[in-house]
């Protein structure tokens, strides 16, 4: 029973248990008689919740399919199916930024035993080369 504000008010009438309604609900959601007899009212309530959650998901899927059908009908060029599936499943490869690429290169370098040459070392090497070339000119 609902009060003036629409809230459910528990009365003797609402608290009355109906085996027929309970069993009928179980049948509606696909629970067999033997399963129903074994399960508690709490477990039946869980089955009912899960059933409606699954139904809601199926409903969303149906609407999404219709919407996607209309979407692809309207676009000029249909993308490859694999690309669409990858995008929907979140498998799309992301483009790396310059920083990410540098980090990746550093990691691989360290992994394969490479030496990291810092900017200061480069300057030192350049200066040494310059000295060598001057010396060779003198000679």
């Amino acid at each position: 029973m609902l009060d003036s504000s629409g809230e459910v008010v528990e009365t003797d009438e609402t608290l009355e248990w109906s085996w027929e309604t309970s069993l009928k609900t179980a049948i509606h959601i696909g629970v067999s008689l033997s399963e129903y007899e074994y399960m508690t009212p709490y477990e039946l309530a869980l089955h009912i919740e899960a059933y409606f959650e699954r139904k809601e998901l199926e409903h969303h899927t149906s609407i999404t399919l219709v919407w996607l059908g209309e979407y692809y009908h309207r676009i000029k060029k249909l993308p490859p199916l694999k690309q669409v599936i990858d995008e929907v499943m979140g498998n799309k490869k992301k483009q790396m930024t310059n920083e990410q690429m540098l980090e990746k290169a550093k990691t691989l370098n360290a992994l394969f035993g490479g030496i990291e040459i810092k900017e200061t070392d480069n300057d030192f090497i350049r200066k040494e080369d310059e000295i060598d070339s001057i010396q060779s000119g003198v000679d």
């Binding site: 608290l15 129903y36 074994y38 508690t40 009212p41 709490y42 477990e43």
Partner: protein, 109 residues
């Protein structure tokens, strides 16, 4: 205290009698309980039980376990069976917990 296991939403209640037995109030047990006691479901958790009624309630609660073990449980056996329990409180506790588990509300509600 009875050997009951109820962690989080674990609804299993075990009582040590002649062997560990599960107390469970499925729909079949509840229907039998109503037929045997003449009580309504709404009043079951509120009313106090006499010793004789307790035997009937526990008989219904132990039926599914007996079936699983291929036993035929009779109401007449209950007096002897419940004597295996350490105390009367242990039986009461197991019964209350099993009834509470059977009628608890889901997390959503």
């Amino acid at each position: 205290m009875p050997k009951t296991t109820k962690a989080d939403k674990n609804t299993t209640v075990i009582i040590q009698l002649d062997r560990p037995r599960e107390v469970r109030f499925g729909h079949k047990a509840l229907k039998k309980l109503m037929a045997l006691t003449g009580k309504s479901l709404a009043s079951i958790s509120e009313e106090e039980f006499s010793l004789e009624e307790l035997e009937r309630v526990m008989f219904c609660g132990l039926l599914s376990d007996a079936k699983e073990h291929g036993e035929t449980l009779e109401l007449e056996q209950m007096e002897d069976l419940l004597d295996y329990a350490k105390s009367f409180n242990e039986v009461m506790d197991a019964m209350e917990k099993a009834l509470e588990n059977a009628f608890q509300s889901t997390e959503k509600n």
